[in-house]
């Protein structure tokens, strides 16, 4: 495999820890990568100086990285990145950037990689109803899902070269808006508790919120719930036409497990299902299945979790 480049996942001008998994993924492709850190302040790159498995670090410094603009970021990064196979994370912004850079460099892109074997990479297709393995015949851009590769450890010693760069920003920000809800979004949560039509009414989602607040979870919903109740916004929808999630723990309450929904959450590490119908398809995918109404099970779950979290 030729040269590899990892574009660091950033969070408030700091390297997100999941970047260490991307470095490990580059290692699986066969080479120690150049780590590119898109930043407005080069101190952001300090977070990776002691990581193993990196050949060198480039802090790509530009005011273009203040706000996300695909054209601006791709051109600013292209100017400082070596040639080779490029690896990004799979946040919506990172996948967008991966595709934009691939277009910029005239390369193919493969998204949502969950396995690397030589130059063959595997991604879920049909929302995880099937897996597809492709062979990379040349330099490509790949985005790699989190919770797949073990992060590289501390113990290395890397120098940081700071390179100033500029990007051609296309879009302009008119306004930033806070999210109506202060709660975590399902796409960024490690624990998700979701409700389906079995919750009976949108008001009953407050019981899910109570559990969510106890364990720091996001609240999601099935398509049936979103379609039935206007009070449940599409931004909460987990599934093939909603968000695809990959948390450590997914708790499905009053969700039967339509194929549409399973497609969006089946790769969660642990799945708990609460449903009154013992034949609900969700139970086939659950690590822990509880046949009960939510009215019976949620208060018990909530009390126990409160005790445990004290």
């Amino acid at each position: 495999m030729s040269e590899t480049i990892v574009i660091a996942e950033m969070n408030n001008n700091a390297i997100h820890p999941s970047t260490a998994e991307l470095v490990a993924a580059a290692g699986a492709l066969g080479s120690e990568p150049t780590l590119i850190v898109p930043c407005t302040d080069a101190s952001a790159a300090d977070g990776a100086t002691s990581w193993n498995g990196i050949s060198n670090i480039i802090a790509a410094k530009s005011s273009a990285f203040e706000n996300y603009d695909a054209a601006g970021w791709a051109s600013a990064l292209d100017a400082v990145m070596p040639q080779g196979t490029i690896i990004t994370g799979t946040s919506p912004q990172s996948k967008d950037l991966a595709a934009r850079i691939a277009g910029h460099r005239g390369m193919p892109v493969v998204q949502d990689v969950v396995k690397i074997d030589g130059n063959q990479v595997t991604s879920p297709v049909y929302s995880g109803k099937a897996m597809q393995t492709v062979s990379l015949g040349g330099a490509s851009v790949i985005s790699v899902r989190s919770n797949v590769f073990s992060p590289v450890q501390e113990g290395g010693e890397n120098n940081v070269s700071v390179v100033d760069t500029t990007g051609n920003i296309a879009t302009s920000v008119q306004e930033f808006m806070e999210r109506a809800s202060k709660r975590l979004d399902v796409s960024e949560a490690n624990i998700i508790i979701s409700g389906g039509r079995g919750m009976g009414s949108p008001e009953n989602f407050s019981h899910l919120e109570a559990v969510a607040d106890t364990i720091g979870a996001a609240v999601g919903a099935s398509r049936a719930a979103v379609d039935t109740w206007e009070a449940i916004p599409h931004s909460m929808q987990v599934g093939q036409t909603g968000k695809t999630v990959n948390p450590n723990l997914y708790i499905a309450v009053g969700i039967s497990g339509a194929i549409q929904h399973l497609a969006g959450m089946r790769s969660s590490r642990y799945i708990v299902a609460i449903n009154k119908d013992a034949d609900a398809p969700i139970f086939k995918h659950a690590d822990y299945g509880i046949v009960a109404t939510w009215e019976e099970a949620l208060p018990v779950l909530h009390n126990k979790l409160q005790t445990m979290m004290e």
Partner: protein, 245 residues
């Protein structure tokens, strides 16, 4: 008045069960539909035309079987329907190069597409085609307004960001609060009579090639419990067995 193109793709119905025979997915028994997010792109394109004038062209890449979704788009109100004929499977570089050429041939100020297709879930087409055209792009938008230019709402900075998008641009659409219009009888009759404009475009060689497709590994059977009181035990196991919480 803008020339507006909307990219549409035919995919398996999202409620369909996916079967694998041998080393590839078998879609022969599956109902094919317009990718759901493309419907939001189509609705946004039609709203853009209603606000600013111009014409909307629906464009797809694929075999003759893909013409059904073009007819569906026509019934909903697009002016022109175009299919780019292809022979074999393409990687994203080949496909996006073909799309770039088709868009250049047709001429457009703005291209709308779904935020991702229901088959790949990748979301690469919008930003990738924009890069190849050298245009601006905005992705995963949840709302758009057309006051002279185009302003969009997109998730970002832990909330939402309202962006001005300079044209020409490629904009990929999420659901937001859009209600997709239904085709009326007149539209359906017109779609029946409409002819699909078929183009042929040479594609570059694909370097990414499919090795095989398979079903995801089955999960071992989990533990099952009767009655709500078991929730306490499950919570404890999440900590003791799963090392969570």
């Amino acid at each position: 008045m803008p020339n507006i193109i909307v990219l549409v793709k035919q995919v398996p119905d999202t409620n369909a069960k996916i079967l694998v025979s041998g080393e590839s997915v078998d879609l022969s028994a599956v109902k094919m539909v317009m990718s759901p997010y493309d419907e939001f792109a189509l609705e946004t394109a039609l709203q853009h035309k209603e606000a600013a004038g111009g014409e909307v062209t629906a464009l797809t890449v694929g075999g003759p079987g893909a013409e059904k979704i073009l007819k569906d788009a026509k019934a909903m109100g697009v002016d022109h329907i175009v299919r780019v004929e292809t022979s074999s499977s393409m990687d994203t570089n080949a496909l996006q190069t073909v799309l770039k050429q088709a868009i250049t041939n047709l001429g457009a100020e703005v291209v709308y597409c779904g935020k991702s297709a229901a088959d790949t879930g990748a979301g690469s087409t919008g930003p990738g085609v924009a890069a190849r055209l050298g245009w601006a792009s905005a992705s995963n938008i949840t709302a758009a307004t057309f006051d002279g230019g185009v302003s969009v709402m997109t998730p970002g900075n832990g909330g939402n960001v309202k962006l001005s998008v300079p044209l020409p641009a490629v904009i990929s659409c999420d659901k937001g609060n859009l209600k997709v219009r239904k085709a009326n009888i007149k539209g359906i009759m017109q779609a029946k009579k409409a002819t699909v404009d078929v183009h042929t475009i040479e594609s570059p060689i694909s370097t990414v090639t499919v090795v095989n497709q398979s079903l995801p590994p089955a999960k071992p059977a989990g533990k099952s419990y009767q009655g709500g009181d078991a929730a306490a035990e499950v919570a404890q196991l999440l900590r003791d067995e799963a090392n969570l919480l």
